[in-house]
Amino acid sequence: MILKALKEKLGDCKFTGISLCEHKSPYHHIAEKLFYIHDAENNQPVKIVLSGDYQLTVNNQLTTEICVVKTDKCLIKEVEGQKKCDCILFNNRRLYFVEIKSGRTGKRGERKRKAKEQLGATIDNLRSNGINLSNLELQAIICIKNHSRKIPQVTEQTMMEKFREQYNVKL
């Protein structure tokens, strides 16, 4: 249902002329038990990988089919000021919006705020295109390096609550 709606409303890759992707389509179906998402930050969309560098781990214990949609630099066309997240992952029950922010270092707070805006804009984009997400459990994920011990931050707690209020999606 959701795949059909995405294809109908948002179509295919908008970067076919310059894309270096092995798989040109924005929609990848995968049922591996464990796979990874890698954003090389090379002006190309994210890649699904089974080894090597990665930022997001997808633990698919039930080996159900998951569709990974490359949104940035692929499905969603480049429009000045139009924000979007890196990719969307879904199966028939859940849908995740993902923004990877771990390539560079520094300005962590600012990067988190920017990621939140990109995720929110993508949710808005889908909804404004009339894509019905109401039957899916939604979650937005910011993928950011955190090697040192995690200390609670009210900024993060409050950002999560604001996001829930605005988009009705858990960040």
Binding site: H147, T158, E161
Partner: protein
Amino acid sequence: MQSRLIVKNFGPIKEVDLDLRNVNVFIGPQASGKSALAKLFTIFKAPRKFLKNGNAEANLKAFKDVLEEYNIQSFLMQDSEVEYLSELHNLSYKNGTFSYVPKLLNQIKKIERHGDSLDNNREKIYNELDSLSKQYLMFSMKFRDSMQEHAEQDTVSTGYDAEKVETHLNITQTNFPDIIKAIKDIETELSTNAVLYIPSERNFINIVKNSALNLLLHKVPIPKHILLFGAELEKSSVNEIDLGFLSENLVYRKINGEDRIFTSTENSIRLGEAASGVQSAVPILLAVYNFDEAAINRHHSFVIEEPELNLFPEAQYELIKKLAAFRDEIRGGDWGQLHVYTTHSPYILSALNILLYTNKVEKFLIDKSNSTGEWYDVFNERHSINIPPNFFSAYQIKDGGAESIFNIVTGLISDNYIDEATDKMNDDFDALMNLMK
């Protein structure tokens, strides 16, 4: 209880305007002036504790003396301005002069004057007293008690009319002076019942207790606000505190006037020998738990400097929950406890944020269904303590100013220096790790 504290050119403070509520938290770097603001609040909340019915000059001297007690006398400069505004009173220090307007007392005196011609003003008096009793819970109790008492006495001679129990006709020449006296007593209590300042040096008190004579003999200069707190602790009538949140089975007991920490039923050590976390937390709880609804002149407002001192993160969270559980703000502006915390701890901020969010979630759940469902019991079991957003304020003090870090729309604490510091440390760790590639 809502109040406003405006401070200009006072020590490190250039200009701040604080809207203070029942639970207030100040964050900021060292020497930013957050403790100075907390101390000014402590002083101004109960002005008649230090102003002894003197004239303007005597009041000014008393003000300077009390600044000295709190070790902030050197912060007062030529162009310093300090103003405190509340329902109870206004205080200001400006152009070297000090003024005190006891707003509530003046209001009571006005009502008292109406009593000179009681028969003509009976309705006016009743309405004014009624409006005060809506604002102050203790007024309400005393006022309605007096009315009831006289109505019952009247019943004997005139026959009891239940409908008249709370009407203006029950104000008589006989009971009017009693009512005025009762509410004046409450006003006096509110104006003299000082905030207890719990300093960050609180564990020092356990250490010096046994060497007090030596310290006196050698004239060791100990700031008076620390001694004041020590003296208050000695008066505490709390005999036992469960310290299970610090360590399993840990209990504080006062045995023959001595503070002891029990690690089991038989084994105990002196408080001064206990772990530093115990030495920091016990004085706070001894002060806050020393609260008796029936007794007047007990502290029910507290400034707690760095409640996190020496405590493991989970214990910080539990301490904040214990402190929040002991407040009771919804029962009236003159009742319940008022807390000001100064902190550097992300755990304290996060604990307060959780209590604010608990309030929000509870409201959401109640609106969604009803408060009798099974879900409510489950929720309440884990989250019975909360802080309503309109009873909370949070400020970050830096570079002489104060910025609110409380987002009234979300009802939660927003971006702040403590979290920025965490981000910076994580960034540095990342940058180092990238060099290992």
